[in-house]
């Protein structure tokens, strides 16, 4: 067990190194400029990782299904805009690096109020209350102009001229490293929390809230404390959001972002601590990468979510962890060929599916936008029969071929697992 966790630590360290190096991989040495697209995508990944990790303090660690998590993210963002304005006035003498702490405190403070209401209940009732809170705050954001700025939101300027390290935070690369630093700090703090009495009792109340009472704990207090801490971290994420974009509108606290937090935590894997980070990275990639290429990127997110719920409820981290015993048993090589045999039909299937979706979307939204579908330099007419036929055949052949290969893959997998069983029980 010890060995496994130190291997994992190293893997995350490599991820961190990659995150540090990534902007330079896309640096244009010709013009001496960073890629704005890559930096903003990486920044988004950072803050979304914080949001997803803090959401998982509820979902994965406490078994609480919240629909209002973005509220605390958003309030951190709004508060930060006001803090930045105060800092520029000189009323609030605080370096930019520490503004996220204030944002976190704002998120935490709001979580005290709403957590008091929501954590009286658990399970479905809890989820319903949080749904109400989410709607309440979205409405409030449009009603109270003074603080929320109405539909236009509120804006500020992050160059407050006060930094611990003498940075101006004009160029977005500086902001990215600030985000990265806060992502690492927040992630480590949240990891630490899982190894404290509160974190452990949160797990316990997820497994069996009734038993918790009979070991002397008030499950409501456990939920409440966990809720307000998760609000604190969401607030930090929101603060970084405000610093990055210098404008916050009600999108930052509305339901779609709450739903995104859930998607990221779930797809990444809510049972493992690092799962939500993977989810945040993947969803952000889809969001900023695929959304550039396709009008229907949300369809892909939706299909991905449904697929994960149906076939891999443990998320990406769960899929990786399932390979643990096979890799440790030194049998991973035996899976390589079967993997190739499933991935090929899987690609055909995905190709067919994407084809159908794209053709349909070019027929409807695309036409309205006057877009033309171009593939490998050829114009493709979505009114033609041939492209539709090709896509449908790909989809049909790919699906049935995949189903066939998946079955034989399953056999190989089960065989390997049962081979390894005796070794595992001996160890």
């Amino acid at each position: 067990m010890k060995k496994g966790s130190s291997t994992q630590g190293w893997l995350w360290f490599i991820v961190l190194l990659a995150a540090i190096a990534m902007p330079w991989a896309f640096y244009n040495y010709h013009t001496g400029r960073h890629s704005g697209f890559v930096i903003s995508m990486l920044s988004q990944m950072g803050m979304m990782s914080i949001l997803a990790l803090s959401y998982n303090m509820l979902l994965g660690q406490s078994g609480l299904f919240s629909f209002c998590h973005a509220v605390f993210f958003g309030i951190g963002g709004y508060a930060t805009i006001h803090f930045l304005n105060l800092a520029r006035d000189g009323t609030l003498p605080i370096p930019l690096e520490l503004v996220p702490v204030l944002a976190g405190l704002s998120g935490g403070a709001l979580a005290v109020v709403f957590g008091y209401m929501a954590t009286k209940q658990r399970a479905t009732a809890f989820a319903m209350i949080t749904l109400g809170i989410g709607e309440l705050m979205t409405t409030a954001a449009l009603m109270f102009h003074h603080f929320f700025g109405g539909e236009g939101g509120v804006n500020s300027n992050r160059m407050i001229g006060h930094s611990l390290f003498g940075f101006k935070y004009g160029p977005s690369i500086q902001v990215y490293y600030l985000i990265l630093a806060w992502t690492v700090i927040s992630a480590l703090l949240m990891l630490y929390l899982t190894r404290t009495p509160l974190g452990r009792m949160a797990n316990a109340s997820r497994d069996n809230f009734e038993r918790v009472q009979f070991v002397g704990y008030d499950p409501r207090m456990v939920r409440f404390t966990q809720f307000l801490l998760s609000g604190f971290f969401a607030g930090i994420g929101g603060g970084l959001y405000a610093i990055t974009y210098e404008i916050v509108t009600f999108d930052a606290l509305a339901a779609p972002l709450s739903a995104n937090a859930l998607l990221m935590a779930y797809i990444g894997g809510s049972a493992a601590f690092g799962g939500p980070i993977l989810g945040a990275v993947l969803i952000t990639l889809l969001q900023s990468g695929v959304s550039l290429m396709s009008n229907s990127w949300l369809v892909y997110v939706g299909v991905l979510f449904i697929t994960m719920v149906m076939f891999a409820p443990q998320g990406i981290m769960g899929l990786i962890a399932a390979h643990g015993p096979i890799v440790r048993g030194g049998r991973f090589g035996k899976l390589l060929l079967p993997y190739v045999r499933v991935i090929v039909p899987c690609l055909v299937m995905v190709l067919g599916f994407v084809g159908v979706v794209e053709l349909a979307s070019f027929l409807t939204i695309g036409a309205a936008q006057g877009k033309v579908l171009v593939l490998f330099g050829h114009k493709i007419d979505e009114h033609d029969v041939l492209p539709w036929l090709a896509a449908l055949i790909c989809l049909a052949v790919g699906t049935s071929w995949f189903a066939l290969e998946a079955r034989s893959f399953r056999r190989v997998w089960d065989g390997l697992m049962s081979e390894l069983k005796p070794e595992r029980s001996a160890a």
Binding site: P197, G199, M201, N203, E210, V215, V222, T225
Partner: protein
Amino acid sequence: MTELALSLCGVNKSFGNMQIIRGVNLDIKKGERHAIIGPNGAGKTTLFNLMSGRFRLSSGEILLNGERVDGLPPHQINRKGLSRSFQITSIFHRLSVFENLRCALLWSMGYRYSFWTPLWRQRELNEKTARMLEELNLTSRGDTPAGLLSYADQRALEIGMTIAGGASVIMLDEPTAGMSNTETDNAVELIRRVSKDKTLVMVEHDMKVVFDLADIITVLVYGQVIASGPPAAVRANPAVQEAYLGSLAA
């Protein structure tokens, strides 16, 4: 009064129009091993739920070590020194066996809702947990998720969790239900060992276990106590034979 661990006075409980517990008076002395028996549906488990605060009383009083506890939520009754197990095994399934026991120790060792104490550095806590594992014969399963233990081991774990917090009154709801003969013998041995110097209250169907362990037996029929006393006296009681043992023999 203080030599009483638990004292029930005129306890009633109704669900809607159904009166389940009818005016139960029961005194349980400190250090006693007390078994509550009775036919199915007599209200034994309901009585347990009332004593541990899981249900609220319709009327009556319950004193724990001379202090009124009826109306308190379960976690507060637990902190006053009453701990219980459940008829259907109640553990933290996804946590390891070690974590289950550690969770059961946390409150009594004063950790409360601390989110700043690193668990892995609490030597006394971790040593105490390891000693409990040893006592339950579960040391080799320490890292196993509790949900994957065998049924008998899960029951043993739950007994361990029940006593871990150092409660003075231990309540076990059918601790040997569903066990084989050997498993039952082991469980009885374990219960005898861990309930030393404590007050033990248990609901049990297995008469062998009851007569093995109990100093005092209370017979509950239709929500009323029809007899209470040492095993020999209860066995000889004609009302009991009529209502309970008789029906078993028939």
